[in-house]
Subunit: 269 residues, 2 copies
Amino acid sequence: MSLTDEVRAAFANTPDPRTRELADAAVRHLHAFATEVGLTRAEWRAGIDFLTAIGHITTETRQEFILLSDTLGLSSLVETLIEPGGTEHTVLGPLYVPGSPVRELGDSTLVDEDAGERVEISGRVLGPDGPLRAELDVWQNASNRLYAVQDPAQSPENLRGRFVTGEDGRFAFRTIRPVPYPIPDDGPVGRMLAATARHPWRPAHIHFIVTAPGHRALTTHVFDAASEYLDSDAVFGERDSLVTSFEGGRATFDFRLEREVPGALHESR
Amino acid sequence: MSLTDEVRAAFANTPDPRTRELADAAVRHLHAFATEVGLTRAEWRAGIDFLTAIGHITTETRQEFILLSDTLGLSSLVETLIEPGGTEHTVLGPLYVPGSPVRELGDSTLVDEDAGERVEISGRVLGPDGPLRAELDVWQNASNRLYAVQDPAQSPENLRGRFVTGEDGRFAFRTIRPVPYPIPDDGPVGRMLAATARHPWRPAHIHFIVTAPGHRALTTHVFDAASEYLDSDAVFGERDSLVTSFEGGRATFDFRLEREVPGALHESR
C-alpha cells in the first residue's frame, strides 16, 4: 500500500460523510502536489515557516490566512462554485467587519473628512419574481486607500453602513468614489507577492452583502469602470459583470438574488 | 480563461524557476481540491479558522503546523521522496530541539530519575565503502510519555545527546526503553483526529539524525518491535526496516548513509 493510501485509510472511519470526503480529497491533492514537484525537506520547512509567520501576524483585525487564500485565487474560486444565477458573487475579503450601523436610505456612509469625489450609488434589489425588500451591508476604503478597520485615524464606522430597501427594492446612498489600493503587503503574503513578481493592487470597488429572507445571500463588489487594475486584481475578485460607470458622480447597479434552495449543499454564508 | 488559469498566469513571471514550478503546482492542486469537492463558503471559513487556531497555538516549543503535516502524512511523504538508498528516512517530528549536549560513547542520555527499563543501544554507521566516523543526534521520550521540551518537570537535556563514533563507525549509549505516546492532542490537530475517529498514538521509538561529512544526513527512528501501534502510527512514520528488538535490555541497529551528490535537488537538511 502506498503511503498516500495508508493515510487515506486512516481517515476512512470518519463518521460524518462530508468530513470524510473533504479529508480524503485534501490528502490526495496535498500528496499529489508534493509527489509531482518532488518537495524537498528545505522546501517543506519553508512552507511550515511561511504558515507559521502567517499565523503569528494574524489578529482580530488582520486575517493573513484569508489574504493568502485571496491571493491564491481560492476565495474567488469558492464564490464561482456557488450555483450560478443572479448577480455574480465575489470575494468577501479580509476587511469585512460585521455590525455596521443601520443608516437611512439616501444618507452618506462618510463619517470623517475626506477630499474624495462625491458619488451617489443607487439601484434595485430584484428576486426571480421582481423587487425584494432587502438589506445591503456596504463597506469601502477611504481616499487614503485604507479601510476604517486598518486605520486608527478613521472613525470605526467610516464608509460602512447597512441600508434597508422598501418593498420596491430601491436603494440609494451617498459616499466617495473608491480608489484602487494595495492589499496589506508588509507581511508573509506581501513577501510571497514580491518573490513571484506580482503587484498587490486591487481595482477600485465598493463591497456589498445583499440579503433578503428566503433568498441566497449575495456577497459581491461593484467596480469602477474607469479604475486601473481591472485586469490584474491581486485577489482575482474582478468580474466583468460587476463593472459599472462612476462618471458624473453617479453609479447605478441592480442586484439579482436567487431563491434559497432548502438543504442545498452550497448554502449561503 | 478559467479562474485557475488566470491565477496561474499571475504567477508566470516568478523569476526563480523552482519557485515558479512550486507556485504553479500549488495553485493547480489547491484549485483541483476545491473544485472536486465543491468547497462551500462555510467549509472554506472552517478551514481558515482551523489554520488560524493552529497559528495561534504555535510557539517556539510547540509547532502545531508540523503536527498537522505529520498527521496528514505529508512529512513522511517528503522523506520517501528523498532518493532511495541507505537506511530509510522518516519524519523529524515537531519535538526535535537542536543543540543537544555532546556525550561520551557508552554514556547514558538519562539525566533525571526514571523508573523505565534500562537499555543499551549500539551499532555502526556505515557508508557505501564501509564504516564512517559520524555524529548521532539522539532524542526520545521519558517513561511519563513526554519529551523534555514538553515537560517542565524534566531537565532540558534529559534523554537527548550527541555521540561521535570512532573511525570504526561504532556507537553505544545507555538510555531507557521508549514507550508509546500520544502526540499533543489538546489543540486543533487533536480536534481533527477526534473528528475523524483517529487515535493520537505513536509506537515506541528513539529518534536519530546521523551525519557524516560528504554524506546525506539521515533523519530516522529506531522502533521497538514489541511496541503497540506499529501498524497505526498517528504520523505515518513507521517503516518496517526500522523496527528492531529491545528485548533483554539491548537493541542494535546499523545506520547506512549514502554519499552526498553535489547539487542534487533532494539536498539533505
